[in-house]
Each structure stands twice: as structure tokens, then as C-alpha cells.
Amino acid sequence: MKISEKIIEKGLWLSAFITVVTTVGIIWVLFSESFTFFREVSLVDFFTDTQWTPLFTKKHFGILPLLTGTLLTTVIAIAVALPVGLTIAVYLNEYAPKNLTRVVKPLLEVLAAIPTVVYGFFALIVVTPFLQGIFPGMAGFNALSPGIVMGIMIIPFVSSLSEDALRAVPNSLREASYGIGSTRFQTAFKVLVPAAASGIIASVILAISRAIGETMIVAIAAGQQPRLTLNPMVPIETITAYIVQVSLGDVPHGSLEYKTIFAAGLMLFMLTFVLNNISFWINRRFRQQYE
């Protein structure tokens, strides 16, 4: 009895330990490899050079094109996911019969379970040709199409978590709003959404994190041309897509080109790390108000 308890305790401890060690290991590798990279390329160049051409003869190491590529697709994705996701959340919470909510919510979450390679393929062979019908000048690879598809993918992040946040708003606020003559729409958007703002913002930040880290869709449908532009019609490259490109290519191990993926990876890690922390902070800072 005693011995089995000890084994269980050690087993649990080991699982926790492995997780922590893995995380620390990844961060260690990212930082140490990036450190050797930044001994050869100055931080100033890295953040101010407007070209990213580590694989060409004339090498430039400016992260800005990859960063704008990432931000561009992410902004497009959020522009799709926030209005749609929030509308769904409000509908499910305030308008839909309870039975419908019970069916629709899990169905929506299926969207997040579709393999991203399927989304990428969908962006490339369905959405892009469709968009080209509307914008004839649009390139075959572009930021708009994968951005929209990525937006669809992260809708459940926004809708599901926002719905939870709206449901957590005390019923007494609904009654107060109705009692003074508000319509359902006014109650939803002027009282409940502001009251649930902390949860909704946290859901959006989580969705942004997810979009920034998304790889497959942009690698397939956005092209692989690092380009400093905010034009969604032309090929671009995101940080993630670049990492895929180099990892799959024949860049010699240990070379400066090879180390670029760690610098790019570190950049990505910083972005999502900061966003996750903001989300955590918002949740903790503002949630207390309603309890």
C-alpha cells in the first residue's frame, strides 16, 4: 500500500518534471542558437533591414517582412473571426433556444478540429480562385485567402470562450436592462458584452496567438516570398512559413542560414508569450469586478 502510493507519487512528479524540462529545453535551444546568430547579425539590422534574403547570395537579415506577413494574415483572420465569433456567441446566449445551443456549440468546435493542412488546401484551391473572381488582379498566392480561412478556423476560439464569458454575466444585469425598457439587442450589446469584456478580450487574444502560430495554411496558400507590404493581394511569407521552408530545405546544419530559423522562432515565441501573458493578466485583473 505504502509502496504503491510512493510509486504513484513519483510517477505524477515525473510527468510534471518532463513537461517543465521540455519547455525549459526548447527555450534554452531557442535562446542559445539565436545568441550565436546575433553574434554575426546585429540586432539593429535584424529589426530595421527591410529585406529578408538569407538564402540568396546577397544576404539580408531583416525580420520586418516576415513580421508584417505574420501580422497581415493575423489581422485578416481576426477581422473575420471577431465579428462572426462574437455574433455567434451573442446569438447562442441571448436568442437561441437552449437545445440549439447544446447542439451548435460542439458542432462549431469541430471547426477547430479540422486538420490545418485541409484548411490550407481549401484556401489554395477554393477560396483563392473564388477571390480572384472578385479581384481579378490578385496573385495565386496571397495573404487574403489564407487570412480568411485562418479566421474561419479560429471562430470557435472566439465564439466558445465569449459565450462562456457572456453566460457568466449575472442574470440580475439582464433583468436590470430589460426592466428599464431595453430590447434584446440593446441588452446584449450595451450591457452584456461590456460586462463580459474581459473574457471576450481574453478569447480574442488567444485566437490571435493561435493565428500567429498557425503554419500550414500560410505555408500552403500565402506563397514564400518575404515582402515588406500591407497589400493582401500579393505573395508574402510569415515567420512560421519561413521556418518550414528552411527546415525542409537543404540548408547546411550549423550554418548562419540554418540559425535564422532559431532567431525567427524566438521572435514568434516572444510574440505569443507576450500575448498569452496579456490575456492571463486581463482575465485576472478584470474578472474580480463581478464577483
Binding site: P170, S172, L173, E175, A176, S177, Y178, G179, I180, G181, S182, T183, Q186, K190, V191, P194, A195, Q289, Y290
Partner: protein, 256 residues
């Protein structure tokens, strides 16, 4: 609306209310005059809250709610198909059991009722906010911190804020569902004084668990028991000389 032939402010005719198969109000009828305070008392589950919520149709949201009979305000049947429930609720304000200010500033809490009607003129809003807070006897306590979150006020202040919020849209009837049950004695007496003041301009219906409170603030009292209106009459009369044995047992504390 004001020039009705009927002298009664509120009229209830043979109301039956059901939640599913449960009959929670049984054939209740009542007349209420303008500028009076009417208290509804009775043990928990007697139907007095449901009855109160008939007047602003707050029961409509309950899935299996069903009613028979009619409710008239100023001679208008408020369950008529032509009645817009949002319009009705602007004339029948409500104050709830627990203070429920919006998580907005004090100012915005009061202004909300006007904003949803599309009124956004600053000087008009300023005027209404001041007037409503004065009516609710809260102005002197908060006039310098209108931009503060309403959630920072004390419970008693929050409840007076909720009353001010209800007054801002200029209702003629105010429903109060145990408005002091979550408050301390000092706040409670402030609310009671307030009710006495508001009577001059409004018709007030109040549900209360506290029989002393009913005795202090109301002109008329209705005693509900198991969905029936057992006795309804002048408060003094009902408390000193109840005509029904069940009323007497309840007010003397033999059950409830």
C-alpha cells in the same frame, strides 16, 4: 393615456398564472389607486413576486409561463398584442431584490435608460442624472464622483442608484421586489423614507418579507398564500383587525 375614464391606476381582473402545470396565482383581482403604496406580503412561494412581475411583463421570459385574465394600467390592457413590451417597461420601472447596477460609471447607470431611447444630448442627460439622483436622495453623496464605477458604492447606495436609474425614464409606476432585503437597517430606513417621498409622484407596488416594513410604508396591503389573494385592504386595518384567520396567523407569526 392619462385621460382614462377609469379612476384606478392599476386593475387586475381574474388573473391565473401557470408555470407548466403548476398554478401559481389563482383568480386574483385587484384595484390600485394612483399615488399610493401597495405592499404584497406572504410566505415564500406564495406567488407575490410573480404577481409583481405581471405588471411589467418580466414573467414573459420564463419558458413555461402562461396566464389567463387581464392587467390594465391607466385603462390599457398591457397584455394586448399591440403593446410593445419595451414601451411598457418605460412606464413601469422596477427595483430588484439585490442591487444590480451595471458595471459602468454612476453617471452612465442613470443615463443608460435614455441612451437606449436614442437620447444622447449631454446637457439633457446631465439634467436627468442630477434630477434622478436627487429624487433618490443620493445626489449629495455622489455628486463629485459621478465618473466612479457604480460597483464601488455601498450596497445601500447601489440600491438607491438603481431606484434613480428606474426614475430616469420617468415611469408612473414603480415595482419593488424586496428592495431592502439585502441591506442593513440604516440603508433600509433610508429606502423606506424614499418610498414615502416617491409616493407623491409615483404609484408604488412593493413585495416584502418584512411585515413591519409593509406596515410602515404602505397604504394598502395584500396577503398572498399559496397563490391566492387571501386579504386585501387598508394596511392599518389588515394589521390590527384582519378579517381572515390565515392573515391573522401569518401576521402574528404563527407560520411563514
Amino acid at each position: 393615456m392619462k385621460d382614462n375614464k377609469n379612476s384606478y391606476k392599476l386593475q387586475v381582473k381574474n388573473i391565473n398564472v401557470y408555470y407548466g402545470h403548476n398554478k401559481v396565482l389563482k383568480n386574483v383581482s385587484m384595484h390600485i389607486e394612483a399615488n399610493t403604496v401597495t405592499a404584497f406580503i406572504g410566505p415564500s412561494g406564495c406567488g407575490k413576486s410573480t404577481y409583481l412581475r405581471l405588471f411589467n411583463r418580466m414573467n414573459d421570459y420564463i419558458g413555461n409561463f402562461r396566464k389567463e385574465g387581464d392587467v390594465f394600467i391607466d385603462g390599457r390592457n398591457i397584455y394586448d398584442k399591440k403593446i410593445e413590451v419595451e414601451e411598457l417597461r418605460k412606464t413601469v420601472g422596477m427595483v430588484f431584490q439585490k442591487p444590480n447596477p451595471f458595471p459602468k460609471t454612476i453617471y452612465e447607470n442613470i443615463a443608460y435608460g435614455l441612451r437606449i431611447q436614442g437620447i444622447n444630448k449631454k446637457n439633457l442627460l446631465d439634467e436627468v442624472v442630477e434630477h434622478s439622483l436627487k429624487q433618490a436622495v443620493l445626489w449629495d453623496e455622489v455628486k463629485d464622483e459621478l465618473k466612479k464605477s457604480a460597483l464601488e458604492l455601498s450596497g445601500g447606495q447601489q440600491q438607491r442608484l438603481c431606484i434613480a436609474r428606474a426614475l430616469a425614464v420617468e415611469p408612473s409606476v414603480i415595482l419593488m421586489d424586496e428592495p431592502a432585503s439585502a441591506l442593513d437597517p440604516i440603508s433600509t430606513s433610508k429606502i423606506e423614507e424614499l418610498i414615502f417621498e416617491l409616493k407623491k409622484n409615483y404609484t408604488i407596488l412593493i413585495v416584502t418579507h418584512n411585515m413591519h416594513q409593509a406596515g410602515r410604508v404602505s397604504d394598502k396591503t395584500g396577503f398572498f398564500y399559496l397563490g391566492e389573494l387571501i386579504e386585501f385592504g387598508d394596511t392599518k386595518e389588515l394589521f390590527t383587525n384582519p378579517s381572515n384567520e390565515r392573515t391573522e396567523n401569518y401576521i402574528t407569526g404563527r407560520f411563514g
